[in-house]
């Protein structure tokens, strides 16, 4: 009974996700995109980086990347802490 309610709720949330995603704008037509046009224009001009994505990852949004390296480091710390060599009982 409870499970059926949850599944119905999940279907509703999934439908809402479809709705939200669908109502943003038509696929392939971003309309005005000032931020991305700025990146595309200035990545090569100011930074001499041919690859715009890399210049975003490491320069324009570099702080995201260090956060992301920190996420990887966090997961590593957590996993190694979970599988650590335990101290034997004193």
């Amino acid at each position: 009974m409870k499970k059926i309610i949850f599944i119905v709720a999940a279907i509703i949330v999934g439908a809402m996700v479809v709705g939200a995603v669908d109502s943003i704008r038509p696929f392939g037509e971003p309309g005005a995109s000032p931020m991305d046009d700025y990146f595309i224009a200035s990545a090569l001009k100011d930074r001499s980086s041919e690859n715009v994505v890399t210049s975003i990852v490491f320069d324009y949004r570099g702080f995201d990347t260090i956060g992301e390296a920190a996420v990887l480091f966090t997961a590593l710390c957590a996993i190694t802490a979970l599988f650590r060599e335990g101290r034997k009982k004193l």
């Binding site: 709705g19 696929f27 990852v57 979970l82």
Partner: protein, 115 residues
């Protein structure tokens, strides 16, 4: 023309993952469901950046004067992929330890903490 098909597929994948969180009993299947939800979100982000007729956001390969697809969602997706990998690895480690302690992967039997 394919219309909004990628967005629709994203929603369908999300729905499938979310529903099978409740339908499947095995913890590893639940980890797979969470992976699929994460991939759905990644596809959503990348398809947000697609511009009809756009080229790869690399000046070297795109050539002069061509319109490129939006690069920001791709940068976001790179981050999101690594985050998804990190959480998947941690979730599977936890599942291994659950198996070690409880001797089962049935999600309905992991209920030592209640009330």
């Amino acid at each position: 023309m394919i219309g909004n098909a990628p967005f629709f597929v994203v929603g369908v994948l999300f729905l499938m993952g979310l529903v099978s969180l409740f339908l499947s009993k095995n913890l590893i299947k639940i980890a797979i469901a969470i992976s699929i939800i994460g991939s759905a979100v990644n596809i959503f982000l990348v398809s947000l950046g697609y511009r009809a007729g756009g080229t790869i956001p690399v000046h070297f390969l795109a050539g002069e004067g061509s319109t490129m697809v939006l690069p920001t969602p791709q940068a976001m997706t790179l981050t999101a992929i690594v985050i998804a990998l990190a959480t998947t690895a941690l979730l599977l480690s936890l599942i291994m330890l659950v198996w070690r302690h409880y001797g089962t992967l049935d999600i309905d039997e992991i209920r030592r903490l209640r009330g």
